[in-house]
Homo-oligomer: 137 residues x 2
Amino acid sequence: MKIGEFARKLGVSTDTLRYYEKHGLLTPSSRSQSGYRIYTDTDIKQMSFILRAKNVGFSLSEIKELLQIKIHKDQHSCHEVKEMTLQKRDLVAQRIEELTRFYDSLSLLAKKCCGGEEPAENCSILTTLEDIDGLTH
Amino acid sequence: MKIGEFARKLGVSTDTLRYYEKHGLLTPSSRSQSGYRIYTDTDIKQMSFILRAKNVGFSLSEIKELLQIKIHKDQHSCHEVKEMTLQKRDLVAQRIEELTRFYDSLSLLAKKCCGGEEPAENCSILTTLEDIDGLTH
DNA sequence: CTTGACCTTAGGGTGTACTCCAAGGTTTAT
DNA sequence: ATAAACCTTGGAGTACACCCTAAGGTCAAG
C-alpha cells in the first residue's frame, strides 16, 4: 500500500513516516516505478512495535537500538545479541519497578481519600510518596 | 542549601533547576537576603519524584499535573482529587502492561538465542514479537 | 485530457526540554 | 582587599520529534 493508506491504518501522519525513514526506523519494503513508497504487512508489524515502544517512553534512538537487534543478526554473534537483549530487558524491568511504585503511590492516595465533597486535606501525592518511600526503602 | 549543592546532590544542572522553577515544577522553599535560591529536604523529595516520573516516560507537563494533586488539595473536593488520581493510576497501569509485553518479548528473544559465537540467525526481535502478538492478541 | 486526489523532495517552523553564554552581584579564603 | 568560587537574570542556541508549505510529478475517473 502507499504512504497515505499506511498512515491512516497506523494513525500517524505521512510526515512522521518520512521522518522515521530518514532516521532509519522504518524503510518501506519497496518503491513503485514512479518512486512512491510501498508498505507491506511486515512494515505494519514494525511500525506497531515502534509505536508501542514510543508509548511506554522509549526515545526514537532507543527504539532504533532495539531494532538493531534484528538488523545485526547476521553481522554479530549470538552471544553479543543475547547480551544486548538482556541489557535492554533489565532496563525495561527497572522501568516496570518504578511504574509499580507510582501505581502503589496513586492507589494509596486514592484509598486515603474519602472521595466526598469536602476539601481534600489529606490528598497529597508527596505525603503518600513519603509513606511509600518509608515502606519500600 | 544553595542551588549548586542541591544540583550536585540530585545529579542535575543548575540550569535545569532554574528551568523547572520557571515552569512551575519546583520552587525552592525560600530565598536568601541576597536573592540566592535556598533548597531544603522537602525540595529533595519533590525533585526525586520529578526525576523518577521523568525516568518512566512522563513529560514535564504530565508531572506538573501529578503535582497539581498536591497543590489542589485545598481548592478542590476529595471527590475531584480521587477521580484524577484514579485516572492517572489507570494510565500508569496501561504503561506497565505494555512494558510487561516488552519484557516478555525480550525474555523470549534471549531464551531462543543460543548465546554462542555463531552468527545470530534466529535472533530477530520482530520474529519474537510476532510470536508474542500471536500468543497475547 | 484535465480535474482532483494522491505522491515526491527540500526546506522552514514549532514545542519540549534543556544548555550555554554575558554581564553583573555575593561570599569566602588568604 | 582582592581573587576565586559561588550566585543572579535575560536571552540565545541546540537536539529531538515532528508539522507545514512550496513546487512539482503520478494516476484514476469523468
